[in-house]
């Protein structure tokens, strides 16, 4: 409260950056402890959560007043004109303070009270149960077991307590491998494909420096490949672009034989085979130049696959460019498309999608297990593992399943939500739209497969809203250990039950759960399938949207249909009863 000097300013103008008429709304601006609220003359309210504010700017004074521009993490941009400069300055200063908190305890989630009692709150937190989820996948089983190695967060602080590993991997092997991997993030199970008996595993990069080899790590990988009874060959997917990786590999002393084997079953496409051939030649050239990759002699039965997803810094500036370009009104075609191209955003989205498709194909076509890693194994690895599982398993395309997926591959495996979303006043270089990209990839899939998802676009946008809102505890903190220390389950609420209560809003009326065709999604990644996601990046710019919504209409019709069908059934049953009574009557009459 100490940051708020002015709580109410009247005669404030709100400009719409895309309005064709250049008209503005006049109203009153209120500043509360958690929100900035604007009520216009039609009593329409615009609420802006302080935590959503990414940037506040005070522009040069004009004749009509002092312009205040607020950019939000949910891509809302508001342009106020405050009549008096003093008021504007006060609000500006307050917002600067309020939008950047230093402590977790000052975040909205710790004061947000939806009027639930403790047991309701606890039930909310228990809604998503990961142990249950692993059971659904079919683990533990004869090849995979629950490891208690990290029960006390002793081996890896950023992993959850409960980890699934190959049954034959002993604790010393796990400990040894974790020492060889960055941040102790050794290979563990992310998804088990029961039908193919293949697994998606995840880890971080091997550590450079002291040793080029780690027998335990090699054993653990071997154990993963042995845990797959169908195909002993496994893939190791490094999700980083090769040019960035080479600098790291250059520090490796041991240079082994390099063979990037190409599975003809997957890559039967002529063109791709050609490009892989080129890659192979490149690799040979690199070897000659003294650079190297993982030593395939040490890791038997392994095929390496490189997919180029850029790092968090590239992604951050890419999104920034995208927003800059699209933020302007009256764009010409060349501004728009050259901006879209130079931002590289769609190229990055495609890279993530390509990686996930490769992963899904390795499992469905070859029944091969795949180990995915990037540098620390919490950004790109989370993207690829979760998106890959989504392609494979239709459960993750339901509302509940999608929550489980986020809870598993993102929250529990330590995607650093607080740092990536900038919840606290921290290092701006740690902020990156990694999760947003994941949501966008899912959106692209919903566009290509409009019947495969139980949820709609609004669901994705709402989740995006809440990773930044700090209103619920789910996305606070950077790993499970930190969340436990913050006692989030006692002090805050979980987002998921609230979304489930509202699920009518998020249902896709075209969803066909039974359609067997969609068991595995095989998206087409030709360039023109990647489109600008207007409903995310311009979600608040109403003038840019279609003026009518098909979804609402279809949803209503669907509901009416259901109601009418129910009515028919009810009536049928009444008729049936009447008939029965009738016939009983006739029978009894005949007896007489």
């Amino acid at each position: 409260m100490e940051h708020i000097r002015t709580t109410k300013v009247e005669q404030v103008k709100l400009l719409d950056r895309f309005s064709t008429s250049n008209k503005s709304l006049t109203g009153t601006l209120y500043l509360t402890a958690t929100h900035l609220l604007f009520i216009d003359s039609h009593q329409k309210e615009t609420w802006i959560l302080h935590h959503h504010i990414a940037l506040v700017e005070k522009l040069a004074l004009t004749t009509s007043g002092c312009p205040l521009v607020i950019q939000c993490k949910n891509f809302r941009i508001v342009h106020f004109i405050v009549p008096r400069e003093r008021d504007c300055h006060d609000i500006y200063n307050s917002l600067l303070q309020l939008s950047k908190q230093a402590k977790y305890e000052d975040l909205y989630a710790f004061s947000y009270n939806p009027k639930q009692n403790d047991s309701e709150r606890l039930r909310g937190w228990q809604l998503i149960d990961l142990a249950e989820e692993y059971k659904r996948m079919g683990v533990p089983n004869s090849n995979w077991q629950l490891s208690d190695a990290n029960r006390e967060y002793k081996i890896c602080e950023t992993y959850p307590r409960e980890l699934y590993v190959p049954r034959i991997a002993s604790k010393p092997i796990i400990v040894g491998s974790s020492k060889f991997r960055s941040k102790g993030r050794f290979p563990v199970l992310s998804y088990y494909h029961e039908h193919k008996e293949a697994a998606i595993c995840r880890c971080s990069q091997p550590l450079s420096g002291f040793s080029a080899r780690c027998l335990e790590d090699e054993h653990l990988l071997q154990a993963i490949s042995k845990a797959n009874p169908v195909n002993r060959y496994m893939y190791v997917m490094d999700t980083r672009p090769k040019h960035r990786m080479q600098s790291w590999w250059a520090t490796q002393k041991d240079i082994g034989r390099i063979i990037v084997r190409i599975s003809s079953k997957i890559w039967n496409d002529e063109k791709i085979r050609e490009s892989d051939e080129k890659k192979r030649l490149n690799a040979m050239a690199n070897r000659a130049a003294g650079k190297g990759y993982e030593n395939e002699d040490n890791y038997s039965n392994i095929r390496f696959q490189f997919v180029g997803i850029e790092n968090i810094h590239v992604m951050r500036s890419s999104l920034q460019k995208l927003l800059e370009v699209n933020g302007t009104k009256g764009l010409s075609v060349s501004d728009f498309y050259s901006g879209l191209e130079s931002s590289g955003w769609l190229r990055h989205i495609k890279a993530v999608m390509d990686a996930a498709i490769f992963l899904a194909k390795a499992i469905t076509v070859e029944s091969a297990s795949v180990l995915v890693h990037c540098s620390d194994g919490w950004d790109r690895t989370s993207q690829v593992c979760s998106l890959g599982s989504l392609l494979l398993d239709s459960y993750y395309r339901t509302i509940k399943g999608f929550m489980v997926l986020i809870e598993k591959d993102w929250i529990s495996f330590g995607h650093k939500f607080s740092e990536r979303c900038g919840h606290l006043d921290g290092d701006p270089k740690e902020v990156s739209p990694v999760f947003t990209q994941f949501l966008e990839c899912v959106w692209h899939l919903t566009e290509q497969f409009p019947q495969a998802f139980e949820f709609n676009e609004a669901f994705l946008v709402q989740i995006h809203e809440h990773i930044h809102s700090c209103q619920f505890g789910n996305f606070l903190g950077n790993c499970q250990k930190e969340r436990e220390e913050l006692k989030l389950k006692e002090k805050t609420y979980s987002l998921w039950p609230f979304l489930l209560d509202d699920q009518k809003k998020y249902l896709n009326p075209l969803y066909t759960s039974k359609s067997p065709k969609f068991t595995v999604l095989e998206p087409n990644t030709v360039s023109f399938n990647f489109k600008f996601w207007r409903n995310m990046y311009h979600q608040f710019d109403r003038t840019l949207h279609p003026r009518q919504s098909v979804f609402n209409i279809i949803t209503n019709m669907n509901e009416q249909n259901k109601q009418l069908e129910k009515d028919i059934k009810d009536l049928e049953s009444v008729r049936f009863r009447v008939l029965k009574i009738h016939s009983v009557g006739i029978l009894s009459w005949m007896k007489f």
């Binding site: 728009f336 191209e341 409009p450 008729r575």
Partner: protein, 543 residues
Amino acid sequence: MEFSDLIRTRRAQAKLLRGPEAPPLRGTLCLTGHHLLLSPGPQATSELWLLLLRSVDSIEKRVASDSGTITLRCKDLRVLQLEIEGVEASLDIARSIEALSSLESVITSFPFFYRPKGLRLGDAWHFHPPERYYKRVARETNAWRLSEVNEDFSVCPSYPRAVIVPRSVDDGALARSARFRQGGRFPVLSYHHAPSGTVLVRSSQPLTGPQKRRCAEDEELLRAVLAGARPGARGFIVDTRSSQAAKQARMTGGGTEAKAAYPGWKRLHRPLERGQPLQESFVRLVEACGDLQQSTDSWLRRLEGCCWLAHVKEALSTACLAAQGMEREGACILVHGAEGTDSTLLVTSLAQLILDPLSRTMAGFQELVEREWIQAGHPFQLRCAHSAFSHARPKHEAPTFLLFLDCVWQLGRQFPLSLEFGEGLLLALFEHAYASPFGTFLCNSERERCLCEVRTRTHSLWSGLNQPKEQRKLRNPLYAPNPLAIWPSVELQSLRLWQGLFLRWIRPPEPSEVAWEKVWQIVTDKEKTKLSQPTVSASEPQL
């Protein structure tokens, strides 16, 4: 001339490839005067495959030792490949297709031979005569009359026989005004907007020339337009050329309305692309769409480079300007460019679609196309002679009509419930405008259609489309009449590439089309359940 002179080889064994998704067809290939047929062997289950030769845009032939490959690129952007046994046969067939697909004679074209079952000649040709639209105008205002000054097409060869003009102007004045306008296209009524009592009028450019000539009757005609609208109405002249191009036109005898000569009218310039640059834009877009291997970056670069969406944006915003002038400012609008047969019609037809709820119905839209494009004298035969694949140097080709359809599609995307027709109708119109078994899009004007007796000797596309079996493809299941004007957003963030047309044959059949089926199913379910309910409850009391 007989077709048989052009057919060198009638039959050959061939394999047909129809894109990545459809399975190849094998069978006997036959060539007739109008069609290419592929008849699969007797044991095959698939049906006869048929292609109208008129729809072939370009042919490429390649020969190997004992066979030849012909690539046919069609006007509807489809690409087909025929593998034909025998080098001679394949070369002969290629040459024959080439000759037959580019025949220029109208009266030997297929519509004159097409006699489908279930349709009667002459049906639907009189669905949309100018008289019919005049009846509607007459109900709303009596300031306009139907003039038959062009009865014998002598006043304006590209206008229909009857046009709607201000009541106070007599036929003699019209004829003199026609002499002052290029091609005789004097100002005529395009649309009367009853809610604001204003009108949309179209013409061609005035022939002011370097001497800045004037024409009293033309000035009187436009004065009468204002006088017939609500009192005190102003007028805007929307010129679809830049002011510089309009000035330059004076050197060749054209020009624009001088301010002093037309009191109450204000001129606005909204340059729209036309002619060859528009055709090139189309060709480059289709080229870009055909490249499946390109990176996202190069795709975006080419999408930008071809400028197609810029043309969509300009057309829509000019139409919005005209519509806004009528609806919000209560002004009369005159639209013209140079000839008044291309971008002029684009603007007037789109403006009506924005303003007039009736034109958004299935029948209303067909009427709009008939009245504002076909009868208004858009030279379809010249503009649609070739599509995007032709190697021939374009002369008069321009995809103006396609641009119109694209704009309508964009409107439909932004107002998915307000158009009674769906993408299917727009695709059908695109196909039929370029090559059709029906006579509707033949010739360049009503006059030519009369000379060729198109109305009596060919079938109308509308009667073909309005058959019950076609409806599911063409209608929008979610249509709900919307009495308001539909103002589209013309920001680029709101415009999209029309994938259903430009990528129709390239991408695999999209699941969204399956979803469309699902929407239909939900809608018809609704109707069914609604219907079945009363019968159940009705049967109850009888027990």
